[in-house]
């Protein structure tokens, strides 16, 4: 039997969950024995294979129309979709902007910051993705496995991936369930 294939991508997050994934250290050797690691933001192949992968992993929340597209593409091309980290699961830190208006958040970021001079203005290039209310991945596409954590501990990620590699859906409970 062919090894299960895994692809990942990141949305509105900080890449910290992928860093935490790399924190599994030498266990990554064990992992690639079990799975075929395909497209990820930290490999040469960036987009999940068109013919599909077994497991798709998404880090980060849905913050704009581009994130929506990427999430939908991953959903279309994988059998099991994993939401990795608090942003993908809950919206996380980026979702804090939902407590303000979009304009207030953008003004704060591009105009009001102390390090910005008078030339600072909110980017308005029509090619830019349209910002939306920040949502967790499961508000856009159905998610099969939720791995909360900011970031999830490397041990938890390793546990979840090895379970998936062996054809099981990981059950996060007790010490493996952490929202912070």
């Amino acid at each position: 039997m062919a090894k299960p294939t895994v692809a990942s991508d990141w949305l509105g997050g900080c890449a910290g969950c992928h860093m935490s994934f790399l924190d599994i250290d030498e266990r990554i050797v064990k992992l690639v024995e079990l799975v075929d690691l395909r497209a990820t933001p930290i490999t040469d192949l960036k987009e999940p294979d068109e013919k599909g992968v077994t497991v798709g992993i998404l880090e980060g929340g849905i913050t704009n129309t581009y994130n929506e597209e990427v999430a939908k593409r991953m959903r279309d091309r994988c059998q099991i979709l994993v939401a990795l980290g608090d942003c993908a699961v809950f919206g996380g830190v980026p979702a804090m902007r939902n407590f303000f208006t979009l304009n207030d958040a953008l003004t704060r970021a591009y105009v009001d910051t102390p390090s910005t001079d008078e030339s600072g203005k909110i980017p308005s290039n029509p090619e830019l993705a349209k910002m939306t209310v920040v949502r967790p991945v499961h508000e856009i596409v159905p998610v099969d496995v939720f791995i909360p954590g900011c970031p999830p501990d490397a041990d938890i990620i390793f546990y979840a991936l090895t379970e998936l590699a062996q054809g099981r859906i990981p059950k996060l409970e007790n010490n493996n369930l952490m929202w912070n």
Binding site: A83, D86, V89, F90, G91, G92, V93, A95, M96, N98, F99, F100, V133, R135, P136, H138, E139, V143, F146, I147, P148, C150, K171, L172, E173, L177, M178, W179, N180
Partner: protein, 640 residues
Amino acid sequence: MVKITIDDKTIEVENGTTVLNAARQLGVDIPTLCDHPELTPYGGCRLCLVEVEGARTLQPSCTLPASDGMVVRTNTEKIHEARKFVLSMIFSERNHFCPYCQVSGGDCELQNAAYDEDMTHWPIQPNWQPYPVDASHPFIILEHNRCILCRRCVRACGELVGNFTLGFEERGADSTLVADLGLPLGESSCVSCGTCLQVCPTGSLIDRWSAYQGKETDVETTKTICMGCSIGCGINVLTRDNRLVRIEGNWDDEISQGLLCEIGRFHPMVEERERILTPMVKSDGKLKAATWDDALKAATEMVSSSKGDLSGVASTRVSLEALADFKNLCDAFDAKVILTTEDCQAVSSIFKQASKDNAPFEGKIEDLLDADCYLTLGEDITKDHQVLSFFAKRRIPEGAKLIQIAEKETGFDNFATTSLHVKEKSLADFLLDLRKLVEIKAETVKKVAEKYSIEDEQLQETVNSLLSSEKIVVLFGSRKDFNDSEALVKATKAFSSAINAIMLSTKGNINSVGAAALGFSSTEAVKSNLILMLLGDEELSQCTAQKFEKAGKRIVFSSYVSQLTAGADIIFPVSNWLEQNGHIINIDGHILEQRSALEAPQGVYSNEEAVNMLKNALNVKGKVVWDQEIKQFSSPVKIA
């Protein structure tokens, strides 16, 4: 008694026991959020829903009384679904993003409840409505975004503390915790006891000083007693890496029952006095750091050459053990006087009265718990012995009367049933007249009211309250200077026994009774050639400190730099109250054990150790055994 079956286990419980408490007795775990063992059940959060056979819907177990033959299930699919739904609703209401919250990772009851139900995400999205943050209070931050509207804090503020500062305004999703009809907490009637902090299940009430300093799993907890006043409230001291993180009330403590005041909970967190870390010896008119050996040698010479012209002064914040050794040392050199630092004549008058009577005449703190009338005299106990005031205030909604006799305004003004503003110098006379009014009705209320320029309606109501009450407690605040405190103590005692009331005086510091039992007299100005001072960590008022500045030379044991260490000849650094073990006798005669929660800095010894080092250097033999001494003592309150 009723028989109830929960998850196939049957138990017989008292009538009126809730299903939740019956389950706890059976060891069946039902998750809760708004419920708290110290508070009246509220039934607000719906997390404790259970299936009751024959009932149409799920029932909240915290408010449901067990009835005979009731069959309850707590672990069915339907219940787990309901719990998840309840939790989803709570999470969707406000900002419950865990990563930035100080209680996340073990200390949050809401997060723990979600973990227990294996919730990996929120099925319902938050509504993104921001709420204000109230950071106006020096110790407590009110983070409304994390509030789950469980009203534990509101119930604690009213039911336990009797202060009724916290309440709710608006309805539904707009419900908001408010202090006094909407004032910022820092400007409200809050007395900063911090009980609300201790009961909050989420991170909504933030303790400024302990937030992010360590989770409960990271800290060590020491059960000891607060040394802030004479009550001796039971506390849990939370420390991490020999650093004070937080002080909490101990719910199991029989004296304070988990309550604390601002002084006990917060003041140790903001201690700013400069610590003394090495012995100091004066040479060429200047204090210079010295080794313990050199300082002990210098002290030995000074004490040996004093030829009996020395006095001893000790703080009543130090343990019986240290006081006993200190007395032993002073006795060995025929000290002229052995005094405490207590500067209230009323305290010594209490002890004098006790030695005259040779029998205890005071009641116990527990008498406050079920009294139906409180009469306060003297000091404002809402400031100095706050926990006693909580015990009285919280009984008012149940119909208890609070009579305050005070010359000026006090913290009881908004609570007292009657306030009689009688001049302090005529207090003793007034008690005599009040007694006549109650006892033999010999005087008319009008005449007495006129005599003391008080309102006759207030006086009439006072008399009525005293006549109609079954258990009256007279709280005599003794940390106050009266003109003739001996006469007032005598009058208060006579008044209490005439109206069949229980008298309780607040006395001095934590070990006031202990020091009196060991034969220390109350303070006076000292003029001897040499004065030995065991100050411990006490901070004396300027006017008290001045009494000891006239002595020729001064050897001081002290934790902190003060006016008295500045002019001392020899200083020995000693540990503070959190760093030592020992025993004390509190306000109502309990012998309490103090346990050290922190390690003293290197080279700093406990009061007891430091005094013993000097004792050994001076070759003083013998020992004062404190538990023997206190048996001979005529105490105002029974010691046990």
